[in-house]
């Protein structure tokens, strides 16, 4: 006699969103064009809680556009975008402000406010958009600047910082309000390898120690593989960056764009094993 016990009920949307593997960002058939220029062609992917999505591609492939669509800075022509359980593709600017409260963005050149000090830049969101007491904001600002190792530069102007320091201040600014999702737009472009590694380390620390889901847009393969294959380990008050085990490596997924279309999606070892001529050219 066959077992007739019913299947367990499918989880509700709320249960999925609160679960360990909740999708933080979902793109479903998203397309975008500016006049005759197609930027994205039916792009679909999902980013899970605590995972990293590394978007690779040549300049103009549509990588940064994906980040702008997540933030609602651009609207898609077609398709659906979900961020932290909310559909953002049709939201008004006012509604988007609420969604953006849970997202941090690191812009390509940092995009620090040049008329404000490092302290004011990092605490901008808390100073301007919350009613948090000033002492508490300052404490949080000092905490995040300590996290990125720039506490001694707190009262400097952005113009007095080096390129790498500006990127780290931008990371600190993005994480001040403790967002669940961090977006990095070419965070290491134009930096020397040592400074790039320090930025990569910040991305890894935030992902592994603060459990922040992240999307990293880059065309720097060295940094992409470093972020995908390393993990941060806290040990007696110190943080070490070391080679990640296989299961951890699988939490970082690569997504390769070519002319607005996804041509590869998978983890670091799958990407290394690819034999597609375009991917090989890109990886060589």
């Amino acid at each position: 006699m066959s077992d007739t016990s019913p299947d367990p009920p499918a989880p509700t949307a709320e249960e999925v969103l609160e679960g360990e593997k909740a999708p933080v960002v979902v793109f479903d058939g998203v397309s975008l064009a500016f006049d005759d220029r197609v930027i994205l062609k039916s792009v679909s992917f999902a980013l899970l809680l605590g995972h990293t999505k590394i978007i690779l591609g040549a300049s103009g492939a549509g990588k940064s556009t994906i980040l702008r669509l997540i933030l609602g800075l651009l609207k898609p022509d077609a398709g659906v975008i979900w961020v932290n359980g909310e559909r953002v593709d049709g939201m008004s600017e006012r509604e988007l402000m609420r969604v953006r409260a849970d997202i941090g963005m690191v812009f390509q050149e940092g995009a620090l406010f040049d008329s404000l000090t490092v302290r004011e830049n990092v605490g901008f969101k808390l100073f301007e958009e919350t009613k948090m007491p000033l002492a508490e904001v300052n404490r949080r600002v000092e905490e995040v600047l300590g996290f990125v190792g720039l506490l001694e530069h707190i009262d400097k102007m952005p113009s007095a910082l080096s390129g790498g320091q500006r990127r780290r201040v931008a990371i600190a600014r993005a994480m001040t309000a403790k967002p669940r999702l961090l977006l990095y737009d070419e965070p290491t472009t134009g930096l020397d390898p040592i400074t790039s590694t320090s930025i990569d380390a910040e991305i890894i620390k935030l992902r592994d120690l603060e459990r922040v889901s992240s999307i990293v847009v880059t065309h720097q393969l060295r940094d992409a593989f470093y972020v995908a294959t390393h993990e941060a380990v806290a040990d007696n008050g110190t943080v070490r960056i070391e080679q990640a085990d296989r299961s951890k490596c699988e939490e970082a997924e690569f997504l390769m764009l070519r002319d607005g279309e996804i041509v590869f999606e998978g983890n670091a070892s799958q990407l290394r094993a690819e034999r597609d001529p375009y991917l090989l050219t890109f990886l060589s």
Binding site: L73, M97, R100, I103, G104, F107, E109, F124
Partner: protein, 257 residues
């Protein structure tokens, strides 16, 4: 219609549409929360106090040269003692508001377009939005409100200083008695003139600041684009000041007189 003309017409219509949209968004944002009061106070200082020197000098020399020129003309009719009446009415009704507005366009309009343009091309405006701050509320509303408050105040100062400049010329060069000059100013001005002189700067301030913000927030093409935006803000602002002055004057003559 040839292709390039059609493109230009479309671009012009789009520009007007975006300008009107910015004005409507600004009006909505100005009447609801949040309001960035520190930015407002900063702009009061930047637009008002920062423009004081240039406006005072403009008013002073305009009043003085007006007295010099009108003195010669009035002499032909034996009416030199009426120089105060002519200078007072001219300054309060027309020259004060328009010249102050043009000076503010040159100093403040260019500054706003350059600042917002630089913020746009360096992604600071996108960063504002990403941080959950509405750029119109944070950048445009404080500037527009500060302009609406400070340009009329600057105009009043310019009018006063202009009359003092004219008084100096009237007494020192035209040999008109001080009391005769001020009497002439006082009796030459009607309440309608004062209203016109006080109301006009509100319209001009709105046009100057909103055009500068609009041009700044539509900057494209990197640092070169910022330079172009600055020039456009001054040119468009100056032409708009003269055009708006004409229409507002016509409207006020119809309403007040």
């Amino acid at each position: 219609m040839p292709g390039h003309i059609e493109d230009r017409v479309k671009a012009a219509v789009l520009e007007v549409q975006e300008y009107v949209r910015l004005c409507v968004t600004t009006a909505r944002a100005a009447t609801s929360r949040p309001f960035y009061r520190y930015d407002f106070v900063e702009q009061l200082d930047s637009i008002g106090v920062g423009s004081l020197t240039v406006v005072v000098l403009t008013g002073l020399f305009t009043g003085a040269v007006l007295a010099l020129q009108s003195g010669i003309s009035l002499d032909q009719f034996g009416a030199r003692e009426e120089v105060g009446r002519l200078v007072g009415a001219s300054m309060v009704k027309e020259l004060g508001p328009v010249l102050t507005a043009l000076m503010v366009t040159g100093r403040v309009g260019s500054g706003i377009a350059a600042e917002l343009g630089s913020m746009l091309v360096t992604e600071q405006v996108a960063a504002l939005r990403a941080l959950g701050t509405d750029p119109v509320r944070k950048l445009v509303v404080p500037r527009v409100l500060a302009g609406l408050l400070m340009v009329p105040a600057l105009t009043a100062i310019s009018n006063g200083v202009g009359m003092i400049g004219a008084w100096f010329i009237a007494v020192a060069q035209l040999r008109v008695a001080s009391s005769v000059y001020w009497n002439s100013v006082w009796y030459g001005l009607y309440m309608e003139d004062v209203w016109m002189g006080l109301l006009k700067p509100f319209f001009l301030a709105f046009v100057i600041v909103t055009i500068a913000c609009h041009v700044g927030l539509r900057t494209s093409g990197g640092t070169q684009g910022v330079g172009r935006a600055t020039t456009r803000a001054v040119v468009a602002g100056s032409v708009a000041v003269l055009a708006v002055d004409f229409f507002v004057t016509k409207l006020m003559i119809f309403v007040l007189y």
